[in-house]
Symmetry: C2
Subunit: 243 residues, 2 copies
């Protein structure tokens, strides 16, 4: 059940048979896709040497080497463009809109796969690092132009049972008819529970900060890193001929 | 079941109770989210006047006015940034990487919601038009800076039972260990089934084209439109302070 889900970062030795993995992936490809174009590809990493190569691109998070299967979900306008060229048609998909459309297709499939894998008793972890170091991943997986690694999911059978992560009160994220601007007391109410979690209080101390928000802005998701990564994203998109 | 799913564009008069909708949305918010930040908001449109206003932004596709509920899933770094400012922290999320990260969060939630709604007997349709006319949607829904409409889903109980749309053979989209470049006979094999569908053959005739690919490149997803929409996307991202 989605409402009980937890991200799993430690996996047992039990392997995922190729037949099962491919069946779940095929099912995930039933997700909605723009104009029926299926603008994605999935690269399956099982080989230990390949995992070792990928590991630094994901800041050596242990899930890469620890999971039986690593899936890199890629936005892919390459395959569709090849088809066009082979059919006397001139593809025009080397632009930002096409990249964003292909990214959407890719993320719907990634999420469908995640839910199917969890239903089948596996655990997954999304790695946001994929878009931080796309060039390394492109080189390792030999992604051609008009292919870009959007997200990575590590998959395996759980060898841990972590606490469920907190979520903001749902009604605070749902807006009736139009966006309701948040008052300062709305914000206090929304973040109250998150700020009261013992682990988060500990987090503030460990990082020598005054507030939990400062842990995000000054340590975990810093402006200077975001700016560097944004420039890098543009550079790699250019290199993959998407812009 | 995902493997039997079909996009539904015609809906019965049966309404979706707010309690049910909010429960499914809350459950979808359990999806993985970057650093637990939940970088999304959902705007619920039920009011007929609001649907009428939104309709042109979606090229007057009949699903907008025909569905009991229209959901606009928005990338949202606004709420998180408000929290930061209220907690003596300096948010640094007005950049492309943050926009892309928030888009990812948003799409995972949209897809989780879609699957939950389908499991509950409803039908959905994604509207790719959301990113073609983001400015209109921003104005109508009063989206503040650092909020951007990523995708729209129309939801209701099905009043049609369409054929399932075709998909490429799944193995052609799965790459073992590294991206396998497609040979010209790979491409022929992959698109053979799609090209043989009677409806697609009819499509070529109606559009006075030689190949199905030309219907995509010359009619449905044209380079000139993509270029205009890419420029527009950048313009609106700037205006929403994301770049």
């Amino acid at each position: 059940m989605l409402k009980d889900r937890k991200t799993i970062r430690k996996y047992s030795n039990k392997d995922i048979p190729a037949e099962l993995l491919n069946r779940l992936l095929a099912e995930s490809f039933r997700s909605s896709t723009m104009g029926g174009m299926q603008l994605y590809s999935v690269v399956v990493t099982r080989d230990q040497t390949m995992k070792q190569e990928l590991s630094p691109a994901h800041f050596n998070q242990p899930m890469i080497k620890g999971a039986p299967v690593v899936l890199t979900f890629c936005a892919d306008f390459h395959r569709f463009s090849l088809w066009c060229k082979q059919r006397k048609a001139e593809p025009g998909y080397n632009n930002l809109m096409s990249f964003y459309n292909a990214s959407m297709d890719t993320l719907l499939v990634a999420q469908s796969f995640s839910l199917l894998a969890e239903e089948a008793g596996m655990g997954i972890c999304y790695l946001g690092t994929t878009t931080y170091n796309p060039q390394q991943i492109i080189d390792i997986l030999h992604l051609p132009e008009l292919v870009f690694p959007v997200t990575t999911i590590t998959v395996g059978y759980p060898a841990e049972s972590p606490k469920q992560q907190d979520r903001l009160p749902a009604t605070g994220l749902i807006h009736e008819e139009s966006y309701h601007e948040y008052s300062s007391s709305d914000i206090d109410a929304l973040y109250k529970e998150k700020e009261a979690i013992q682990e988060n209080i500990q987090f503030i101390k460990e990082n020598n900060k005054e507030t939990l928000a400062q842990v995000f802005t000054d340590v975990r998701y810093k402006e200077e890193d975001n700016i560097i990564m944004s420039d890098n994203l543009l550079k790699v998109l250019k290199q993959q001929h998407f812009i």
